[in-house]
Subunit: 221 residues, 2 copies
């Protein structure tokens, strides 16, 4: 099937205490986003990327795309106020029935094995959401109490969240809700059962300065 990766890098990233959005910070001399693009470009020769960026950073994104040498496979669009709107903007550029990967631009350590694992399950079952099991004790808190839960039941969700395009498109016709913090929640709300696949502990999201150090360490030399 045709393959699109919507890479969401629409954040303005202030948690790093830094003017540069996280996706543009350098890791071994290249922007984080470069590695995210590279992983998807290399996973499948026929995959196309839709890169969602803040309007003000589209030019910077185009330079990174050039540096991959595969800029003809990369389209651009601007992000919205929410992740939901950013993904919806990207999805509007998917013109063919396909498998769509929705990926956090700052998860630059994603492996080709994980991308392929998601593709295979999504092609077969309609969707594939990578997840890892919680390693620490977890409690669930509600208004008036909190209670322990078996940590093996707690799945920490990663990306690429991967879907048949038409199923994703139908889900994104729903009105926005506040709990639409990831695509799985949007698709689930449309009545579709979510399929988890095994994620990868090294598929980290770079949101704090220390994550950059960890990424330096994890990157093959």
């Amino acid at each position: 099937m045709r393959k699109f990766a919507i890479i969401v890098a629409a954040g303005s990233g202030t948690r790093m205490g830094n003017e540069t959005p996280k996706q543009f910070l350098l890791l071994r001399g290249k922007p984080i986003l470069y590695y995210s693009l590279r992983a998807f470009l290399d996973a499948y020769d026929d995959l196309e990327i839709i890169l969602v960026l803040p309007e003000a950073h589209i030019e910077a994104g185009k330079e990174i795309a050039q540096s991959t040498g595969a800029q003809q496979r990369i389209q651009f669009t601007s992000g919205g106020d929410t992740r939901y709107q950013s993904v919806k903007n990207g999805l509007s550029l998917v013109k063919h029935p396909s498998i769509v990967f929705v990926h956090d631009g700052v998860r630059c350590m994603v492996s080709q094995e994980l991308i392929r694992r998601c593709y295979i399950t999504a092609a077969e079952k309609g969707n594939a959401i990578p997840a890892v099991t919680a390693a620490e004790s977890i409690r669930i808190e509600s208004t008036d109490k909190n209670e322990s839960i078996d940590r093996r039941q707690v799945k920490i969700i990663q990306t690429p969240q991967t879907f048949h395009s038409e199923l994703l498109r139908a889900a994104f016709e729903q009105n926005y809700e506040e709990n639409f913090t990831d695509e799985a929640a949007v698709v689930e709300k449309s009545g579709i059962r979510i399929h988890l696949v095994e994620g990868d502990l090294s598929n980290i999201k770079i949101t704090l300065p220390a994550d950059l150090l960890l990424a330096e360490h994890l990157l093959p030399s």
Copy 2:
């Protein structure tokens, strides 16, 4: 009130791919365990430590205790096959009604502010469990389905888990159950309501080589 810290360092630590148990690995030239001891010794002058170690490593633990210069405030006991049993062994050395901190030996970045926050709430309410809110999307998986949950409800539990000693002792009279993965679960099972306090993102558990790097980075220079 009197104060005891049961520091649990009974693991033989093979996940590091290393013969040395994690609690003895060096961080800026000192064993991880040294920093955990230091944090509790410095938090309260009248606090005593009960250090739970694998039988084979008690001598090594005594050397670290010597290096703190406060070895007269540190007792030793050997660990059991489970965390439950290790804590129970430590608890048997608490001879007075007191506030008991149960702490992971490999959480060497614990701050004195967090120790004091736990003390204050435990003294007032009987227990205090430090927790941080999940930063990523979470799903809860059961036998036949998985469903999204508001991440703000998902609390990642840290240590020191802090209790009135007599409440903890009563809870540890219960027969062992497989889901007793932390002390909060044991105490909750005895019918006591658990009180969460705000944990600390830098209060990491050192279980992977990358965590050591992160700790190097977080340690004040």
